[in-house]
């Protein structure tokens, strides 16, 4: 390569740097910053044992999470998006026969019961997480959140925010079918 050609190629260097950086940033733009990856994906659910909503009622513990593919839904009666997604959970439980467990996050038991009396109860079992500590173990940073748990009790998918029909049809149900095979 002659000196002149080398010199000319050197002039292309800024363009190359620009293209590399531009590509990197463009890639960054395609990532949705609101999707926060869960640390638990493909890992066993944290060990926990929560009491039920009232004295003597069955709660929710890690032991409940094995044996079949099921969902854990973190909800609270004071959370508006939880109301939005609730009819969908009802349909999932009643029409699709999906087992849904609940973590009732920082709620008053009476308020949670009133919520379920009004909206229906799709949950197989409910654990009352009064101080939100179990939710922290799950990496929850807002209600509602929904987790898909496989037969071995591993967390396979996490959905942040209210479930929408699209999420259920495109992600949750296919995933449950796939894992149940």
């Amino acid at each position: 390569m002659s000196a002149v050609t080398r010199h000319r190629l050197l002039l292309l260097l800024p363009l190359a740097v620009f293209l590399i950086l531009g590509g990197y940033f463009a890639l960054g733009l395609t990532r949705d910053p609101s999707i926060l990856p869960s640390m638990l994906i493909d890992k066993p659910a944290p060990v926990f044992a929560l009491p039920g909503l009232s004295e003597g009622e069955k709660g929710l513990s890690k032991a409940d999470l094995t044996g079949k593919v099921q969902l854990i839904n973190v909800f609270a009666s004071w959370c508006a998006p939880c109301r939005v997604e609730h009819p969908l959970l009802m349909r999932l439980a009643n029409e699709q026969g999906v087992t849904i467990h609940a973590i009732n996050y920082k709620d008053k038991p009476d308020a949670a019961k009133a919520f379920l009396a009004q909206m229906g109860n799709p949950y197989t079992s409910i654990g009352a997480d009064k101080d939100g500590r179990v939710a922290i173990d799950f990496g929850v940073y807002g209600v509602p959140e929904t987790y898909v748990i496989d037969r071995q009790g591993r967390v396979r998918y996490r959905h942040v925010g209210p479930l929408m029909p699209f999420d259920v049809d495109e992600k949750i149900l296919p995933m449950i079918r796939e894992l149940s095979k």
Binding site: H7, L13, V17, L36, M39, R133, I136, Y141
Partner: protein, 195 residues
């Protein structure tokens, strides 16, 4: 005093209250009673710029050393609800829970690193306000240095090339016209020639 009054009047456009005809706008009222109003507004401004103290007295640990460590750790952790504040700054509920958790871990005997690892295990890289060096963040950490190196290398190369050019390129021969002008200039000191 006049100038102060005029400065107070300068706030008039900021007063969006309904102005009844014949009534003076509230901002002019500020101008009229300027000493107390100015003291009040200065105090208000001062309180507004004070950092919001998110850490509640009931969260604080009795041991000042432990409390200092807790504050130090809290400043490293992102509030996951508000996302651009540390849990030390944030008033969010979850931030408070995490602050309490941090203090509990410290009391239980964890080192600062262990506490950070505990939270990181649950919330991932996102919870750390200082991103760790990984494959994905390598460009973030190393990028500026790489660019600086590249720029330095480029400059050095350019300087060397220029010096070599100056040293090796023979000065171009002068044209006949330039030769004549040069001769004229060189003969400048001789009397009777030039200007």
């Amino acid at each position: 005093m006049r100038s102060l009054r005029r400065r107070a009047g300068a706030f008039a456009p900021l007063a969006y209250g309904a102005r009844a005809p014949g009534r003076q706008s509230p901002a002019y009222a500020v101008g009229r009673f300027w000493p107390s109003a100015w003291i009040a507004s200065t105090l208000l401004a001062a309180t507004l710029v004070l950092p919001a103290l998110a850490v509640m007295p009931d969260e604080k640990l009795a041991d000042p050393v432990m409390e200092a460590r807790a504050r130090e750790i809290s400043k490293e952790l992102r509030c996951l609800v508000c996302q651009n504040q540390s849990i030390d700054d944030s008033n969010a509920d979850l931030a408070r829970d995490l602050r309490v958790l941090v203090r509990e871990r410290l009391v239980a005997g964890d080192s600062n690193e262990q506490v950070l690892a505990y939270v990181h295990d649950r919330y991932g890289d996102f919870v750390l306000l200082r991103p760790p060096v990984t494959g994905y963040t390598a460009l973030l950490w190393g990028g500026p240095f790489a660019l600086l190196l590249l720029a330095g290398f480029g400059t050095a190369l350019y300087m060397r090339q220029r010096r070599r050019d100056v040293e090796t390129t023979p000065a171009p021969a002068l044209t006949a016209e330039e030769e004549a002008r040069l001769a004229a200039l060189l003969n400048d000191d001789k009397p009777g020639v030039g200007r």
